[in-house]
Symmetry: C2
Subunit: 320 residues, 2 copies
């Protein structure tokens, strides 16, 4: 970064929203901008939106474009970080082999870096979040889908084909014996993802068993469990059991001492507490500590800012 | 290694046998020695045996002790490689926190290096075996117990507490919902380990269903499956299904393109072929290639030799 280039942009690109942050070289946010992306699938339109966002951020913070050093992006799909190519996203965007880095560099005239959104969130938590100072940990994003960002020895581990951490497809006691086909939600997602939790609730819901409505979100169900509804407690316990099994299996492979839980479903303290209780009860072979994401919905944004700051530097997950 | 120190010793230390190899600086074996270790638990006695073995090797190959540069050991338990301490072995040896490296260096007067036996086997396969030239792979040892040696980006990955790869305890469809307690065989070992395969056979064995005896080893059962016995085919299919689930789950986490199968049960080509068929049939999310160990029972010995050669050099799994 040259002395006059004092800023970077981080981008959290999702299937429903685009969120940008302008940060100084210490990583402190000085401006934010966001817009919906529902229905926008064409990569060129997405890049145009990002360019508009960068312009907005510059005006908002009175930072001229020439003072912006680089841009980092978390993309919702399998990403070849070396080539800067988004290999595949879910059906929402339907991308295949999109050279996002090149598109951004051509549109903005500054260096860009692209990575998978869950990996980027892990990098954010590693840098300034719940995993700060921990060299080995797993970030588990539990929302509609489920995925893991793996940091080993201070570096994000992405796998030989860039798909490490696809743990939403894991086979566990209680899942079908055979993996699901392509394009379908994973077995663990079907039970522990946002829609999975709702479906479980609706399956056991009976008007005479609870005073709660049949239509509740995963988070609302967990809230009601903490308030004492016995049917909601049943769902929370099931979900914690599945999450504990998932974490146990990952910990057997990686021997990671810390799991950071993020995403709309994963960040519920009731789920964390019950899952930790189960893991502790199961004994000492692997006893990972569970922490809630401390960055919340900003984990990806902060990780993307770290990506941008790292351009031209070594690619550690956090620089200390 | 000084110019006159032309040799290293590799040690495969097991619960039933101790095997030593003397190799030149290119890793070529010039002498072997072995002895039983049944009933020998005292670490000092084991070190005495190793010293005797080194003396035997020297006489056998007419190599004076001063020409031996270093010694590498694969130990049957959780090992802190940095400290050279065997943290815990199974009940066979019952070791807890044995400073094996220091004991060896004091007894032999040469530098020593110690690692877990499965990791050492993975290093052997990486260096001169079935995984040569592959930077990311998992070595699966399937014998009485089951464990994985994980090589990522050319380096053996051991985990924050030295227990990465304890996959014999994984929770899968069909296993109990809750992990087994300390000191018990893992859930996958109970089904896929040598004794587990025998138990499965004895459970479904009926005199009118097969002409084969009730008392067969895992390998004999797999052999008979390839010869067409329908009951043995049933066992082989069950084992392949469990192994495919185990590999699928590990591959979801690590995105490793290659699994090398070793150990008395794991090295059966019938098991490999049926497992590969299942993984291929399950589709394209993760499609690891399965290879049989090419070093067989020498994988640990060769890995231990590599450990010895690496002393004073950087600790890559293979040096190319």
């Amino acid at each position: 970064m040259s002395p006059e280039q004092k800023y970077v942009v981080g981008v959290d690109l999702g299937g429903t929203n685009l969120r940008l942050g302008l940060a100084n070289r210490d990583g402190a946010l000085v401006a934010r901008w966001s817009c919906p992306t529902v229905g926008i699938r064409d990569p060129k339109l997405v890049v145009d939106l990002i360019r508009d966002g960068v312009d907005h951020l510059g005006r908002q913070a009175s930072v001229p474009r020439r003072d912006i050093h680089s841009i980092g992006v978390g993309a919702p799909g399998i990403t070849n970080v070396e080539a800067g190519v988004v290999i595949a996203t879910s059906y929402l965007m339907g991308w295949r082999d999109v050279p996002l880095r090149d598109l951004l560099e051509a549109a903005l005239g500054i260096p860009a870096s692209v990575d998978n959104d869950v990996n980027v969130a892990a990098i954010g938590e590693s840098w300034v979040g719940a995993a700060k100072g921990t060299r080995d940990f797993v970030f588990l994003a539990i929302g509609t889908g489920i995925g893991a960002g793996i940091v080993l020895d201070g570096r994000c581990f992405r796998g030989a084909g860039w798909t490490a951490g696809e743990v939403g497809y894991m086979l566990l006691p209680g899942t079908p014996e055979v993996p699901v086909g392509r394009g379908q939600p994973g077995q663990v997602e079907e039970m522990l993802g946002g829609n999975g939790v709702k479906s479980q609730w609706q399956l056991i819901w009976k008007a005479d068993a609870t005073t709660l409505p049949k239509d509740l979100t995963a988070t609302e169900i967990f809230d009601q469990a903490l308030l004492g509804d016995s049917l909601a407690i049943e769902i929370l316990r099931r979900c914690a059991h599945i999450l504990a099994q998932l974490i146990y299996n990952i910990a057997l492979v990686l021997n990671c001492p810390l799991f950071v839980l993020g995403g709309g479903v994963g960040m519920h303290s009731g789920l964390r507490d019950e899952t930790q209780r189960l893991l502790d009860q199961w004994g000492t072979r692997v006893q990972p500590r569970l922490a809630l994401s401390s960055l919340g919905t900003d984990a990806q944004l902060m990780g993307a800012i770290r990506l941008a700051l790292d351009i031209g530097q070594s690619q550690t997950a956090h620089p200390d």
